[in-house]
């Protein structure tokens, strides 16, 4: 506790800083450089946990815990959930499509970083008061006192913000059915009218060796019908094409039948 108040930190904290700091930077770099979103998310989660540790080291115990629970626990999971929803395997092409974008971005980033460093260095922040005196009356109590007195309006407003965000997320993702669902008869009539696909869609696995959801049904000519596979799988590109196999099987079947029939003919 007392070390926090000093200008220099304890050597333990220093060691912790240099090691974990390095890891955090590596995590951050991995976040922006990994091809797959899942990897990025995991790297970010790592960085966040390290940050939580730093919060603790800086005397922000409450924040440290919240960081782990809320950020790493909830928010990052939300990210992962969305990543899964969108397609976990779809690797993000790192190929740049906008001319000069990457170089400009790096240049800007570098310049910005240098500026920040220069600013911090220039500010001449040497003396740290430490939180010893403040935290002495109880850390969480201290926070609570501030939140419910000085920052009470901000706090209330953030509450409203959260509710709004929740409602907003629901509104954005929810699709209200605005009309009566079409009956089977109507669907059938529409098919006839449009003349695209007269019979009902083949069930998954029809004419197939596999009976899995990711295997498309085969049309009478043996080509796979992608319509028979769930849209999510389709967009993830996770359709297993078995038509070749099926055709081979069919051919083999015909061969066998022919052989048998031939034999029967021969036996006549």
């Amino acid at each position: 506790m007392s070390a926090i108040a000093a200008t220099a930190t304890s050597s333990g904290e220093a060691v912790q800083f240099w090691i974990l700091g390095t890891v955090a930077v590596i995590g951050a770099l991995a976040t922006i450089l990994m091809k797959k979103a899942v990897h990025s998310a995991l790297s970010l989660a790592g960085t966040m946990i390290i940050l939580a540790v730093f919060y603790l080291a800086n005397g922000a115990y409450f924040l440290g815990v919240v960081q782990v629970i809320v950020y790493t626990g909830a928010i990052m999971m939300l990210f992962l959930f969305v990543v899964m929803l969108v397609g976990v395997t779809a690797a993000d092409s790192l190929k740049e499509t906008i001319k000069g974008q990457r170089w400009l971005a790096l240049l800007c980033g570098l310049g910005f970083g240098i500026l920040l460093f220069a600013g911090i260095g220039h500010a001449g922040l040497g003396h740290f008061n430490g939180l010893g005196r403040i935290n002495s009356a109880g850390h969480v109590e201290g926070l609570a006192q501030l939140i419910f007195t000085k920052y009470v309006f901000a706090f209330e407003i953030t509450g409203a913000l959260l509710i709004t965000a929740a409602v907003g997320a629901m509104v954005l993702t929810h699709r209200e059915r605005t009309e009566r669902a079409a009956t089977q008869r109507e669907l059938a009539e529409r098919r006839v009218r449009e003349g695209v696909q007269l019979p009902p869609l083949p069930a998954p696995g029809v004419y197939a060796r596999h009976n899995a959801v990711d295997v498309p049904g085969l049309l009478p000519d043996g080509t796979p019908s992608e319509l028979t596979v769930s849209g999510t799988l389709r967009s993830r590109g996770q359709i297993r094409d078995v038509s070749g196999e099926a055709l081979d099987d069919l051919k083999a079947l015909e061969q066998r039948s022919a052989e048998r029939l031939g034999r029967e003919e021969a036996s006549k």
């Binding site: 800083f17 005196r133 965000a165």
Partner: protein, 99 residues
């Protein structure tokens, strides 16, 4: 070690996050980079809190987290609905601002 180093670290992380926003095309990763920047800011706030010897910095960091949570919720909802309509999470596909 001088605790100022935390600030340097925060600056570094912020810069990395910002650069990430600029070079990644996947909206989700992009969002993660924004989160990284927010976290870097939080670290700075916490360090400032220690520097000044009061809890205001931590309160601000706390608010930042709350706002970040709200933002993530809305942002991800947008990404999901975008994905539904465009079947892609790439921000470059939404170049609708072009004349």
């Amino acid at each position: 070690m001088n605790p100022v180093n935390y600030l340097y670290l925060a600056a570094l992380l912020f810069t990395i996050g910002a650069t990430g926003v600029l070079i990644r095309k996947n909206a989700i990763v992009l969002f993660m980079c924004v989160e990284l920047m927010l976290n870097a800011c939080n670290l700075a706030f916490v360090a400032f809190s220690r520097m000044h010897g009061n809890l205001d910095g931590q309160i601000i960091a706390f608010f930042t987290m709350v706002v970040a949570a709200a933002e993530v919720v809305v942002g991800l909802a947008i990404i999901v609905s975008l994905f539904r309509t465009r079947h892609s999470a790439s921000v470059d596909d939404a170049s609708l601002m072009k004349l």
